[in-house]
Each structure stands twice: as C-alpha cells, then as structure tokens.
C-alpha cells in the first residue's frame, strides 16, 4: 500500500462550522490531490498540489481551501461547512512522470 492516511475517517459537523481534513503521505511525492465522491458524480477534483506551497484549483473548488506547508501533509479546509459538502473525500498522490494515482482510505463527512 502507498503510505497515505487520512484523518479523521469520519466526521459529523454542523452547518457553518469550519472543518479541516488532513492527508498525510510517507512517500515524499510531490503531487497530491483532493477529490470528493458523490453518488452519480464519480470522483471530482477539488484542489491539487504540485509542491510545498504550490496549489491550484480543480473542478469543484468553491467553498474549499487547501494548504501544503510540508511535503507530507496536504490539508483541505471547509471555512464554513454547508450541507452540500456532505460527501466522501479522498486524497491521492502521484509519482512524477507516472499517470496513476494512489488513493487514501477516505473521510466521510456529514454536515447537518
């Protein structure tokens, strides 16, 4: 298994509260990604990072921010959670010059 962990694995929160999800890798890979998975939508890219402090927006970035202050950690923040952000969130990493990604186990977030 690629060394990717996500925390927390499950979280229930209320509308309007801030939430931070953490992705941690032990592979020292430069490229990291945050996706959300929803029924009928597959996997949609939220944000990605191509190095420390280097991040960019994905397809569904509204309402989300990210930070990467260390190679091993990529944080996803919902500044003010909404019910539409109830989802399963996956982090992924990728080696340079390879196309396949390796995914973490996911975080199930419920916003009430």
């Amino acid at each position: 298994d690629a060394g990717i962990t996500q925390s927390p694995r499950h979280k229930v929160t209320e509308t309007g509260t801030p939430v931070t999800l953490r992705c941690h890798q032990t592979e020292n890979h430069r490229y990291m990604y945050w996706y959300r998975q929803d029924p009928g939508h597959g996997l949609r890219l939220i944000h990605y990072s191509y190095g420390v402090k280097d991040t960019d927006k994905g397809e569904v970035s509204d309402g989300y921010s990210v930070s990467r202050s260390k190679t091993e950690d990529f944080l996803l923040t919902l500044e003010s959670a909404t019910s539409s952000q109830t989802s399963v969130y996956f982090c992924a990493i990728r080696e340079p010059h390879r196309r396949e990604q390796f995914f973490g186990p996911g975080t199930r977030l419920t916003v009430l």
């Binding site: 996997l43 990728r94 196309r99 390796f102 996911g106």
Partner: protein, 113 residues
C-alpha cells in the same frame, strides 16, 4: 458536460463468465486511460492503464481495449470472480493539465457465485 462517460451504472455477471465494462470519452486530447476499482469504505485502487499508442493492454484476468476512432475503451475481466464485485471507474488524461485525470461516474459490477 461529461468528458468521460460510463453509461452503465451497474452490471451483473455470473461467476466464471466475462465482464465487459465500457467507457466513452469526448476529448480528443486524452492520450492515457486508466481503470480504478473501488470497494465500499475504501479508496479507489489503480487496476490497469493504456496509452493511446496501443490498442490493447493485458494484465492477468484484466484486459483493456482502446478504440481511438470511436473514442471508446472497455475493460474485460475473464473469468469473473465474486471478489471482483466493486465499482469500476474509468479515467482519462492528456492535453492541458495532462497528468490530471477526468473520471467517469463509475459502474457497479456484481459477480454472482
């Protein structure tokens, strides 16, 4: 507009038979295609891929076929096993942002014993 389409949300197959999962794409800049497998409560795992310079790639029981003119790829699983029951995602990348894949919505495969 979906650039990667998996038009069958689900597929049911008998153990030992062939499973064929289909995927269509619209972006002619895509040059690399991947299949991922996902079990419930786990992250997706990479299964097999194919470059646009090939029309077939095989790995054990799994074969991916690419028809560039039709913008179509398929994943064949022979023989199918109950442990293959999972959601399969097709993904494509290439062109601008070339290493970032676009995913289809997935096909749920159920293999009956």
């Amino acid at each position: 507009d979906q650039q990667v389409k998996q038009n069958s949300p689900s597929l049911s197959v008998q153990e030992g038979r062939i499973s064929i999962l289909n995927c269509d794409y619209t972006n002619s800049m895509f040059d690399y295609f991947l299949w991922y497998k996902k079990y419930p409560a786990e992250g997706p795992t990479f299964l097999i891929s194919i470059s646009s310079i090939k029309d077939k790639n095989e790995d054990g029981r799994f074969t991916v076929f690419l028809n560039k003119s039709a913008k179509h790829l398929s994943l064949h699983i022979v023989p199918s096993q109950p442990g293959d029951s999972a959601v399969y995602f097709c993904a494509a990348s290439g062109g601008r942002g070339s290493y970032i894949p676009t995913f289809g919505r997935g096909t749920s495969l159920i293999v009956h014993p």
